[in-house]
Amino acid sequence: MPSITYVHPNGERQTVEVKSGTSVMQAAMAEGISGIVAECGGSAMCATCHVYVDPEFVEHVPDVQEIEDEMLECAASERRESSRLSCQLVVSDEMDGLVVHLPETQV
């Protein structure tokens, strides 16, 4: 099973193992990782599941689609090149070891 590491703004790291096909948001919710709100439950409607993909992995994640792109504009923390909605980031075996950074705030 691929693993994902969530890095909190204070530098604390949490690593979890997830089944392929799970989103980075769902994995965080299942593990009770704070820092992701996910108010809309993954319908790309709330922008409260924002993460920054670690530079090392930016190449390895699928591209941002149109609706996600639109919604990232609504995120509460600054949008960067590496910004993603974690609900739209579905984990595959190739993404094993993925590191995502949590933003200062989601709301």
Partner: protein
């Protein structure tokens, strides 16, 4: 018609999910359904039913296998003529769905919705002040209906005044997803008159220059959709956006009035107000069910579903599945309620949910500031519909804070 299920391993449920008695109080039936198995055969209508969270959630998130373009009601559009022109959002699959959806995502985005807050607050305060002076009132009609009926059509940019047509249209559309029972027939009888009114109000000329409607038409000006499609998207808003929030806010008020200790918890911690709404939607889901149609043969939990078969997803049963929720039948505003499927999930997940959430938050906040106790004075009466759940009357008394 689907062949009778000969496979004896598949649990068969004989009861009619759209029986008026079950619609009025569905929770025991939902339990029966969940406990019968992950996939059940609903003999009455000869189609599949899903009542467990995991299966409902998975089905909502697999549009390639479980499509919406054959209709999200019991009627199969491939075999029967739809009662109205199908929605270009709700009743479409990608790629057509994506095109309409990305426009609606822009129009109804969190940033767009935030701009409505102060207008909503002013309206909420006025309505709440008025009922508090009376002390006793009907929380269903005087708050849950009055508030969205004022603010939502304004937000869309509707200039017409006969707003009862909107509630009637929502009621018709949601009854029409169900089977041809007495609710369906009554709705179809009034459909021609009400539909004509609605279609007329979806025209560019019938809408104000500000509002969601005008913004949708701006996308037609950009050439992204046709004029007709823009009108269809306005129709989506008018169908899906009013009845649902009226019912949702009513369910919240009823749940709070019936659980006074939860009202006190909320008074002590008003920051729970957004969570109250999610817990309400989980506990008393305003949209109870939606259908999908299989695009291929598929095996679910060891059961073979054929191609082109209807699957009924019980959102409300999933939201009280003990496999997913602790003490699912308790209304607990402090639980983490996000993840419920009351707004659906996946690509069709409610595009208007930020509007719905704002309405609920603003109205409940206005009430919280002014009201110390909120109590039922007699039993609320339920409103029957084939798809939605809501309250016709919620008699309450309040004491001012």
């Amino acid at each position: 018609m689907v062949e009778a299920k000969t496979d004896s391993k598949v649990p068969v449920v004989d009861k009619d999910p759209f029986d008026l008695g079950i619609l009025a109080d569905p929770f025991d039936f939902h339990e029966e359904l969940r406990e019968a198995g992950p996939v059940v055969w609903l003999e009455q209508y000869r189609l599949w039913g899903l009542g467990r969270y995991e299966n409902v959630h998975a089905t909502l998130n697999d549009w390639e296998t479980f499509c919406s373009s054959a209709g999200v009601g019991i009627s199969n559009f491939r075999k029967e003529k739809p009662w109205r022109e199908p929605s270009i959002l709700l009743e479409k699959d990608p790629p057509e769905h994506t095109r309409a959806r990305s426009i609606m995502t822009k129009v109804l985005s969190p940033v767009a919705v935030r701009k409505l807050r102060s207008d909503f607050e002013t309206a909420a305060e006025k309505i709440v002040d008025e009922v508090i002076q009376r002390g006793e009132f009907d929380a269903a009609t005087d708050l849950a209906e009055a508030f969205p009926t004022k603010v939502f059509p304004d937000a869309v940019g509707l200039t017409a005044h006969e707003r009862e047509y909107l509630l009637r249209y929502g009621n018709i559309a949601f009854n029409a997803f169900g089977p041809r029972n007495s609710l369906f027939e009554a709705s179809m009888a009034e459909a021609p008159e009400v539909s004509e009114w609605i279609i007329d109000k979806c025209r560019r000329e019938a809408l104000s220059e500000h509002g969601f409607g005008a913004q949708i038409f701006a996308h037609a000006d950009q050439g992204e959709i046709t004029e007709h499609e823009a009108g269809m998207l306005v129709r989506s808003l008018l169908t899906a956006g009013l009845d649902t929030t009226v019912n949702g806010i009513g369910c919240a008020l009823r749940s709070l009035a019936a659980n006074p200790e939860q009202w006190q918890i909320l008074r002590n911690n008003p920051s729970l107000v957004r969570n109250v709404f999610d817990e309400t939607l989980r506990y008393d889901s305003p949209v109870q069910t939606f259908f999908r149609t299989t695009t291929r043969e598929v095996e679910v939990e060891g059961v073979k579903l054929g191609e082109g078969e209807k699957v009924l997803m019980f959102l409300s049963a999933a939201n009280r599945d003990p496999r997913r929720w602790e003490n699912p039948h308790d209304f607990d505003i402090q639980r983490k309620a996000t993840g419920h499927v009351a707004f659906g999930s996946g690509i069709h997940g409610c595009v208007g949910q930020m509007v719905a959430r704002l309405e609920a938050e603003v109205l409940l906040s206005a009430l919280l500031k002014r009201v110390k106790t909120l109590e039922l004075t007699s039993e609320p009466t339920v409103k029957l519909n084939n798809t939605t759940r809501g309250w016709a009357h919620i008699p309450v008394s309040v004491t001012a804070a």
